[in-house]
C-alpha cells in the first residue's frame, strides 16, 4: 500500500511538473508558431496553412517599402556588435578586478567589492537620465560607441560577483608555483589562472551577453535609427503602419530562437551562474 502511495504521489508530481512546464513554455511556442502563419490566421488558435514567407521578406527586402528600417538585418547586426563588444569589455575588466580583489591585500579591498555589488541595486534609470543629456549635448545619440560604452556598466556587478566567487575557488598556490619558476605575475595570471577560470568566465559572459542583448531602456532612448538594436526595432518599427503580428512574431523569433537554442546547450552554465553564491555552503 505504501509503495502505491509513493508511486501515485510521484506520478502526481510528474503531471504537475508537466503542467508547470507547459505554462512556461507554451506562450513561447505559440508565439513562434505565429511567425509561420499568414496574417489571416493570426487570430485563430490553429492556422490553416504554414509558410516561410515572413522570414524571407523580413530578411531580404523588409516588409514595408516606405520604412527602410524594417529591413531586419540592420538591427540584427547592431545587436550582435553592441552586445558582444560590450560583453567582451565587461568580462575583461571584471576578470582583472576580481583577480586583484582576491589576490592582493590592500586598503579599500572590501570597500570596493561592497561598492560594486551595491551598484547592482541602482535602477538604471538613475544613470540613464544624465547620460542621455550628456549624449545629446555631445551629439553622441544614436552612435554605436556610446551605446556599447553604456552597456559595459550593466554587466559589471553581476560579472564581478560571479568571477570573484570563482577566483576564490582557484588556489593561488598554482600561481606562486609558476612565479617561483620564473614567471612574472602577469604571465602567471594569463597562463595559469585564466584557463582554470574558463567555466566561470563562460557563465559570466553568457549571462552578461543575454542581459545586453535584450536591453531596451537605454537602447530605445539613446538610439533613433542608426544604432538601433533588435529590442528597439521590435518595439518601435514593427508598429510602423499596421499591428503586424506575423512580422512581429518573425522578428521576435529571429531574436529568440538562436538564444533559446544556445541556452539549451549551455543550460548548465546558466543555472550554475545564477545560483552561484545563492547557496552559501
Amino acid at each position: 500500500m505504501v509503495k502505491k502511495k509513493i508511486k501515485i504521489s510521484l506520478l502526481l508530481a510528474y503531471v504537475l511538473t508537466l503542467f508547470a512546464l507547459a505554462f512556461f513554455v507554451f506562450p513561447i511556442f505559440y508565439y513562434v508558431s505565429l511567425s509561420f502563419r499568414y496574417e489571416k490566421d493570426v487570430l485563430n488558435f490553429f492556422p490553416t496553412e504554414y509558410t516561410l514567407d515572413n522570414y524571407i521578406t523580413l530578411l531580404t527586402k523588409g516588409v514595408h517599402e516606405e520604412s527602410p528600417y524594417d529591413i531586419f538585418y540592420r538591427p540584427l547586426l547592431n545587436s550582435i556588435i553592441i552586445a558582444s563588444t560590450s560583453t567582451l569589455i565587461t568580462i575583461f575588466v571584471t576578470v582583472l578586478a576580481a583577480y586583484a580583489v582576491d589576490r592582493f591585500r590592500f586598503k579599500g579591498r572590501n570597500g570596493i567589492s561592497f561598492f560594486i555589488l551595491s551598484l547592482y541595486m541602482t535602477p538604471p534609470i538613475v544613470t540613464l537620465i544624465p547620460l542621455w543629456d550628456i549624449a545629446a549635448t555631445l551629439h553622441l545619440i544614436d552612435t554605436h560607441i556610446f551605446l556599447i560604452w553604456c552597456y559595459t556598466m550593466f554587466g559589471i556587478p553581476l560579472s564581478f560577483w560571479m568571477l570573484r566567487s570563482f577566483v576564490m575557488t582557484v588556489p593561488s598556490i598554482l600561481e606562486e608555483a609558476a612565479m617561483v619558476d620564473g614567471c612574472s605575475r602577469f604571465r602567471a595570471l594569463i597562463y595559469v589562472t585564466l584557463p582554470l577560470l574558463r567555466p566561470g568566465i563562460a557563465a559570466a559572459s553568457i549571462l552578461v551577453f543575454l542581459l545586453n542583448w535584450g536591453e531596451y531602456m537605454f537602447a530605445g532612448t539613446l538610439t533613433s535609427h542608426e544604432a538601433v538594436t533588435i529590442p528597439v526595432a521590435i518595439a518601435k518599427f514593427g508598429f510602423w503602419l499596421t499591428v503586424d503580428w506575423t512580422t512581429m512574431a518573425t522578428m521576435s523569433a529571429i531574436a529568440m530562437v538562436p538564444i533559446l537554442i544556445l541556452a539549451a546547450f549551455i543550460q548548465k552554465y546558466i543555472v550554475s551562474g545564477l545560483t552561484l553564491g545563492a547557496v552559501r555552503g
Binding site: S224, H225, K236, F237, T242
Partner: protein, 458 residues
C-alpha cells in the same frame, strides 16, 4: 566577505558627507564644462536683412525629416535635379515617425547639426520657436514666394504674431506683420473615411454619424459602425477628443493660455464621445486601448464602417479600399477635424542657411511639385496644386478641410506632449466609466493648469 569593524560607523557619516559634496562638485564641473550657460533667447521681431545670394551657394546641407513616401521621391529628384542644378550636395536623414520627435528635440541641444528640418508643427516646432532656435524666414519668404500662393490655413500655422513665442490657438492669419518661422511643406488633416457599400451618404454631422453607426453595429458579428483611438498615451485619445471638442465649439486654451475646454460645449462634446463607447456601444470594446494604427487596422480588416483617420495614412491594397471614400469630417459648430503637418524650418545655428533656402525654393517649385503632388499624391500646400487632386480621395478631403477657415489647430506650446498626456488621463478614465465627464474635465482643467504653471507659461 569579512565583516567590517564596528568602529567604522561614525566615520561612515563623515565619508558620506564628503562624498556627497564631492559628487556635487564633480557634477558642477562637468556641467559647466559641457554647457556654456544658455540664456533663453528673447524672440525679437526679425528685421535682419538676409539677402539671397546671387552666386551659386554650393557646399552641402543636412536635412532631417520623418519618413514618408514623399521623402523618397524628393531624395530621387534631389539626385536627378537639385544637386546638378545648384551644386549643393544633400544629406537627407529620414527617421521613422516613432523616433522622430525625440531625435528632433535632441538635435535642439547645442549647435544644430542640421541646416534644414522638416519640423512637425505641433509636437516639435513650438519648442524650437520658444527657445529661439529657428531662423525667421520673413524676408526670404516674401522675396521668393507670394504669400497668397499658399493655402492660408497652413501658412497660418507657420506664422507667429510679432514678439510672441507661443500661440494658444495655433493660427495667425495676419500675414502682413507675422513672423514666419517655417514654410509649409506637408500638411495633414482628419477626414472621414467610410464604406460606400454600407454608408450611401456620408454623415454631415455627429447625429447622422451616430444613427448610421447604430444601424450598422452588430456585436455578434463583431462589426461596429465607428471606431476611434482611446489610448491615453502618445496623443491618441487626444487626437480623437480634440476633433470632437473642436466640432462642438470648445477650445483647449483661450488666448491667455487658460484652459478653456471645461465649458458647456466642452462637456457636451466629451460626453458625446464617451457615450459612443459606454452608452451607444457603436465602437469596439477595446477602444480605450486603441491607437491610430490599430483603429485603421480595424477599418482595413472590415470590422468597422466609418473612421476619422489621419488623411495621409494610406489604406494600402486591402479589399475594403475599393469600397471606401473620403469626405469632410462631421461638422458641428465647426468641422470636427484638426490640421497639422510639417514645415521647412532653418535652425538659427545652421551652417549653411543659404543652401537650405535654395532647397526650399527648389522643393516648392512648380515642376517638382507637379511630380510630388500630381504623381505621388502628396498633400497640397500651394493653391496651384489643387488642380491635381481627385474628388473622394484622401488628398482631396484633406485639402477641402484645410481650405476651410474653421478647421482646428493645436495650440503652439513647447510642452504639448505633457499637456496632452495630462489631459488624456482623466479623459481615459471618463471613457471607461470610472469617473463622470464633468469630473474628468474639472480634473483635466486642474492638471493642465498645473502643467502650464510648472512650465511658467501661465
Amino acid at each position: 566577505m569579512s565583516s567590517e569593524p564596528k568602529k567604522v560607523d561614525r566615520r561612515k557619516f563623515i565619508y558620506a558627507g564628503l562624498g556627497a559634496v564631492a559628487l556635487v562638485a564633480i557634477g558642477a564641473a562637468a556641467y559647466v564644462a559641457m554647457n556654456p550657460p544658455v540664456v533663453t533667447q528673447t524672440v525679437t521681431t526679425s528685421t535682419t536683412v538676409t539677402g539671397t545670394s546671387t552666386t551659386k551657394p554650393g557646399g552641402s546641407i543636412k536635412i532631417l525629416s520623418w519618413q514618408t513616401p514623399i521623402d523618397d521621391m524628393y531624395k530621387k529628384l534631389i539626385q536627378e535635379d537639385f544637386t546638378p542644378k545648384t551644386g549643393i550636395t544633400v544629406q537627407y536623414d529620414t527617421v521613422p515617425w516613432g523616433s522622430y520627435i525625440e531625435k528632433n528635440l535632441v538635435s535642439m541641444k547645442g549647435k544644430s547639426e542640421y541646416d534644414l528640418i522638416m519640423n512637425n508643427t505641433e509636437w516639435t516646432m513650438p519648442a524650437w520657436v520658444y527657445s529661439g532656435g529657428l531662423m525667421p524666414l520673413n524676408n526670404r519668404l516674401k522675396q521668393d514666394f507670394k504669400v497668397d500662393d499658399f493655402l492660408p490655413g497652413f501658412l497660418g500655422i507657420c506664422a507667429y504674431p510679432p514678439g510672441q513665442k507661443v500661440k494658444p490657438t495655433g493660427y495667425y492669419l495676419n500675414f502682413s506683420d507675422a513672423v514666419f518661422y517655417g514654410v509649409p511643406y506637408w500638411d495633414d488633416a482628419q477626414p472621414l473615411l467610410y464604406r460606400t457599400d454600407l454608408v450611401p451618404e456620408p454623415p454631415k454631422n455627429w447625429d447622422e454619424l451616430l444613427s448610421i453607426a447604430q444601424k450598422l453595429t452588430n456585436p455578434d458579428k463583431k462589426f461596429y459602425g465607428y471606431v476611434f483611438q482611446g489610448q491615453p498615451k502618445a496623443g491618441q485619445l487626444y487626437d480623437a477628443w480634440f476633433a470632437v471638442l473642436h466640432g462642438f465649439g470648445a477650445d483647449i486654451f483661450d488666448d491667455k493660455l487658460n484652459p478653456a475646454f471645461n465649458t458647456s460645449e466642452g462637456i457636451e462634446g466629451t460626453q458625446f464621445l464617451v457615450d459612443l463607447y459606454l452608452k451607444y456601444k457603436v465602437v469596439p470594446p477595446d477602444t480605450p486601448a486603441l491607437d491610430s494604427t490599430a483603429t485603421l487596422d480595424y477599418y482595413k480588416g472590415g470590422f468597422v464602417a466609418m473612421i476619422i483617420p489621419w488623411g495621409n495614412s494610406p489604406l494600402g491594397d486591402v479589399p475594403v479600399a475599393k469600397v471606401s471614400k473620403y469626405d469632410i469630417a462631421p461638422v458641428g459648430k465647426r468641422v470636427s477635424a484638426r490640421t497639422a503637418g510639417a514645415a521647412f524650418t532653418i535652425p538659427s545655428t545652421a551652417s549653411n542657411p543659404d543652401g537650405a533656402w535654395e532647397y526650399i525654393k527648389w522643393a516648392l517649385s512648380p515642376q517638382i511639385r507637379a511630380k510630388i503632388v500630381g504623381e505621388l499624391g502628396a498633400p497640397v500646400v500651394l493653391k496651384s496644386e489643387l488642380a491635381y487632386v481627385k474628388q473622394g480621395s484622401n488628398a482631396w478631403a484633406v485639402a477641402q478641410e484645410v481650405a476651410r477657415n474653421d478647421i482646428g489647430v493645436n495650440p503652439a506650446i513647447p510642452n504639448l506632449t505633457e499637456v496632452s498626456d495630462a489631459l488624456s488621463v482623466p479623459l481615459n478614465q471618463a471613457l471607461i466609466g470610472q469617473i463622470s465627464v464633468k469630473e474628468a474635465l474639472s480634473q483635466a482643467e486642474q492638471k493642465v493648469k498645473d502643467v502650464m504653471k510648472a512650465a511658467a507659461l501661465l
